[in-house]
Homo-oligomer: 214 residues x 8
């Protein structure tokens, strides 16, 4: 664990066999494995292989993020809450990546989905809940306005994650990235779809807060 | 007047002498002159020349937009209200361009400035006022989220105008343009800083409504 | 129905099962379902599922746009005509998206296809017909000159839709988008292939005209 | 004269003294000098210097293009007509560059200005005149639709020149270049503002026609 | 036949059935059909369909370009030679598109392949041959230097065609397009892979020469 | 003070008179004024005006950032240390912007300049010092590798600031921005030259830590 | 062998049959064949064909690079060492391309993998080894900082190879290319994934050194 | 001197006073100063200051590159020849930067100017001379084809330098950079106008050759 960040396996572009091998090694050496960008074929291969090699391991999958825990694994504890907010359905796999990283580090996660700015009333309903978090991750695609609106309402540090969605000019997360970098409120930003990085940065901030608490 | 759109003189890149000559010709042939992208030198030259050639003409200037009216000019009437909304100070010259075009066509203009999404409370305070307009022009720079938020709150057609502001990635109006084209509410868009086009399109819609009214 | 805009299901990137579930829910709760970007597999799954669950529902498909109406559905009425114009065959699916949105809102649609500027005589033949509409949607790909030419000939507000076509520099709708934003006539623009947005904006303008009429 | 193309001095970025020296050398060695992208300071320096060194030379200036002819210069003859067409005032300096190159090679030039597609009636009025040329150069800025429209009306080869104009997305000639490369009629294209190249290519085609005539 | 340019069917993105139907209609009404961007499946479908419907038609295929001639077809004649030059193997399908258009218009074609500038000796060997053509089409990918080098050696007008090849920065024909637009010799350019446009422009120039000859 | 972020005046693009007026208002209403992107002319005007209107105010200037404090101003206190690191001289004005924001909020700042990765020994010498901070801001231009290297060495959250420097491809901060978003260590990023945003985000994180401490 | 660079077959975009034919010709005429960008299908076809036609040929494959040697082939000798360094697993196929070119020319290769800057300690461990090479090739993806760090530590000429990896802004090797061109140490650069070019350039430098040695 | 590369002062963006101070310090501590991107004002200030402080120092200026040598300075020796080639006048200041770096390191420089590919005969005349160099630097703007042509004719390693020239699409050195990265011969490349980097890389290669010679 470099810098105390959960080591993850980036499955995209790897063969199912490579992914299985890397996961089994991680499981054996650290008691857990965290995998991002896992497709269906890789997930099935992993399930099949682990049924054989580690039948007692617990496998959690959220969209393309997978975590495997050995029965003996002793999870870390972290006294901090990360709020995770999404604008719409398409943002959820990216938010899941962030959420699993935070949970893996022992943080409490408070997740609020589908409150994009096109339905502002739903956004405003959640303001008090946002204020309860120590750090906020806000993922949004298309025009990516949600982090700006949320950050204008709270004192909490906001990490904005642009999500690959939309079509035409500014599609594939570009408008969202540009809008977050141009935000007229205070945000810091990670790359398009970089849920893992947002989660890991939230963990680093949470650890600093946890250290200050104790 | 092609298509009933106020004929305007685009002053940028022209010499002061050319601008004066074009304005005087417009004044003589149509009783009015509308000029956009006028700089200080051109404006001064115009004032000086008109003091001599048309001492009774009324000169109105808002930032870089100038309108000159002969005393005999009989303005058109248009039974429609155009709402014009800006996010911040930097958007005002662009909104002025749109406003003068609408006024020149005889429309009523209801203008609301400086209610960018970073101060959402101010935005929300104006919702009822927005609803009173027949068509809305919303100008915003930086991340350009304001038209999306406004359009999510009203039934009125919204014309979004990205404004050249901000710096770095997505600066000079690019993030705003991309965000408006990606908007998760319904908008139509004009080019960066194209206040004139937004105003003229609002006039065309207003005329259609005016015809329906009478 | 947010802002009175027909709620649509964006099928692209969803599984056939998700699309079916969303459509069935929409049908049950609102009496109709409108789907855009539906591919053959999704359309077949929908037809099969509805044959079972809603055998009396009427299914209309135009290219990738699908509308399903319950027998009891009472369609809205709207006293306004939207003209929809395309340059060539490749623009038709995008225009269909716009057309279905307008029809769904109760507007009258007058559609003219395949009159791109390379055969200018055909374009000019339609001028009187364009003038009969309350609002015009003009879809064109490649160099996207058609909306500029049409808007130069009529007083009607024009919404321009750039279409993803062409190859090489400026391909995939980029030249068309840029040309429409640079148009030397008055247009407002939606994103590349955003037939849905153009249709919905035409509906908002039509409703304003309809309100003025009554 | 490489490839029989008029050798020209590209003045942009050179000092007035360098420009004068290059022009005087050209005049002495070839009896003429052709200069493009000449600014006011360079032009004045040239006039002053030539008044002294070559008082009998004839100096022609059109916007930023300058040609100097010694009294003894024996101009070439070319039996071909180049039509040169512009959309608006901003295109004229670029068309001038092309025109001077053609005239310098001895071609007949038929020039038609200010017939952009926003006033289509004016464009259509000129169709017969276009048909009289052996080759056409069409310069247009903004959305650059004019070459497409002209090429759709005639059998003559058309060389399209995008002109640096417009602002915002697609500004500075980019939309025009992209639109001309995407044209749904048949065109070949030169770079933005490359009036010199368009003129020289028209000369090469004219020479081929002239050779065929004789 | 608009502007005397061979009407061609652009097969890309159409179903095999659509392509067959369009080709059969062209064959019946004009005695020939010209198809570009035909893939293997479309070509096979065409062959099968024509074996049945037009068993005596002659089918010529060069890479993705297909021409079908009815036995009764009376080809046009054109007294001009188009030289077609390629840099490497990857440029050949694009050059084929141009060649078939020229042949279809009755021009003589002189084709020289695989003389890219990396083997300059081969390029220089062909100079005299280039000089025999009335107009030259030069297709090149990667850095696209071949048209510049060829145009520096001859007096013939050169139409440059950038070809989609290469990888990384400037790949997919972008470096070639940019280099041709920046060429320090005189060229006009068509879009990336636009062999059809280059061929059609060469035909328009050839016709002007042919008219001058007769 | 929205969200507890120091309210700052963005001087760029404003007249000296506007800047003076805004600063005097801030000083009178809040006891301090913070100005960014102040040029020499604006700074001189400010000094002159304040000498008259607020002779006892303290004026601090670091490059283009200026802070003015009324003698009665009671600064906030914040129990947290922000480390600020730069790669080279060109990064200093941007880092100054961040530093003044942090100081203004009451944080302790530990600043280390000129340790770019080209002299890795100097970078490594500072590792222990970096570890003492609660949050790190790392500003770097050109290839922007410094934040990646620093973040690989410590557990502290790192906010990376790309700086507008370099020339050619990737110049003006683009390579640095892209490299920071692609970093193989964990970073969050602000826009090019956005020292203010980096400082304000560091303040929000510091406040969370400060709250946890107390 | 043009310029003494190993002639290679670029397999991408060629059919398996074409690749086999080119390889067999190369083998027969030069005693060896070098193929880059070979996919699994092409590699299998090659193996099958050679088993028949050249059963004694030795086939070496590293990722997508394949070399075939006839038993009689007499390899060149080159007294120089090329160091090849990679940041991570994803860089290996690109480095393999470079390595095979160097080995094919007879150079000694010293390869060090997986020492990206996120684990700087591993990088620093290898410094003495880097210093032993005559020329260094450093391949890195994502932010591409490794060549900058390595070049800051040694006197050897470094050829930097950006690798297509990463996602979002700056993905696909763009951030790495830009960062290497902006490097604050001295590097020369080849295109994204151009392992072949880097290897060949290292061979040219090695030959110059070898000539100087003898 | 890091890595044995001549330490240079990058004058662009520094005040004349800063440049003078840095140059005087370099002169005092190392006996020489090398400055790049020096403008007229900075050069005059330097001359004036040195006349006073170091009246015996020798000042060499080539365009924007300046070298100052103390009378006692003992220059290094390097047994290697760097060939430096330019396409046209506009490339000379960039080549000068490279040349001064090479001379400063003690290398022999063989410089050939103005042999761009538009006049191929001039290029071919120099081939034997190119072959005499140990390493070649080739600078070219516009389409940047010269390094490709030169590298196709010799065995020497070529470092290509794209030069900021041209206008329109691909202007400012972009077409040249892209073309060099796509070159179908073997090259390594530095950034646009990076004459200093090209010179320094040539020095590193020359030193390796010099070490091998001795
Ligand atoms: N989704 C992700 N986005 C960015 N980085 C990731 C992601 N998942 C894993 N990583 C990082 O990538 C490294 C693993 O890459 P690899 O060796 O290719 O599996 C880990 O050390 C993580 O820091
Ligand atoms: N073709 C389309 N283009 C843009 N927006 C669309 C399109 N179709 C549906 N929408 C919008 O997308 C929303 C549905 O997205 P989803 O929840 O992903 O199905 C609807 O509320 C529509 O406003
Ligand atoms: N406006 C222009 N655009 C493109 N090329 C030009 C232009 N004017 C002159 N040239 C070319 O540039 C060369 C002169 O460049 P220079 O040596 O810099 O004066 C001439 O041989 C012409 O081919
Ligand atoms: N991976 C590669 N990247 C760049 N150039 C290559 C590569 N592999 C081979 N080449 C070059 O491409 C030429 C062969 O291309 P082709 O004729 O398409 O097989 C060879 O002469 C090499 O110079
Ligand atoms: Mg959203
Ligand atoms: Mg705003
Ligand atoms: Mg069209
Ligand atoms: Mg025009
Ligand atoms: Mg080539
Ligand atoms: Mg740095
Ligand atoms: Mg790396
Ligand atoms: Mg050149």
């Amino acid at each position: 664990q470099r810098r105390g960040i959960p080591e993850a396996i980036f499955a995209e572009g790897k063969s199912a066999a490579q992914v299985v091998a890397l996961a089994e090694t991680a499981l054996e050496t650290t008691g857990r494995a965290l995998l991002t960008r896992v497709d269906d074929e890789q997930a099935t291969a992993l399930r099949t292989a682990l049924a054989d090699s580690n039948p007692e391991a617990a496998i959690e999958r959220r969209h393309s993020t997978v975590r495997v825990l050995a029965p003996t694994y002793d999870p870390p504890e972290l006294d901090a809450t990360v709020g995770i907010v999404t604008g719409g359905t398409v943002d959820e796999p990216v938010a899941d990546e962030a959420e699993v990283v935070c949970l893996d580090a022992g943080a409490t996660v408070d997740r609020v989905d589908d409150i994009g700015v096109a339905s502002l009333a739903r956004t405003l309903d959640q303001v008090d809940r946002f204020r309860g978090a120590d750090v906020l991750i806000v993922a949004a695609g298309r025009e990516g306005a949600l982090p700006t609106v949320v950050a204008g309402l709270v004192d909490t540090p906001v990490i904005a994650v642009p999500v690959d969605s939309g079509y035409g000019y500014g599609g594939n997360g570009d408008a969202a990235l540009a809008g977050m970098l141009q935000s007229c409120t205070v945000l810091s930003v990670v790359n398009i779809d970089a849920g893992f990085v947002a989660g890991a940065q939230a963990v680093l901030i949470s650890r600093a807060i946890d250290r200050a608490r104790s």
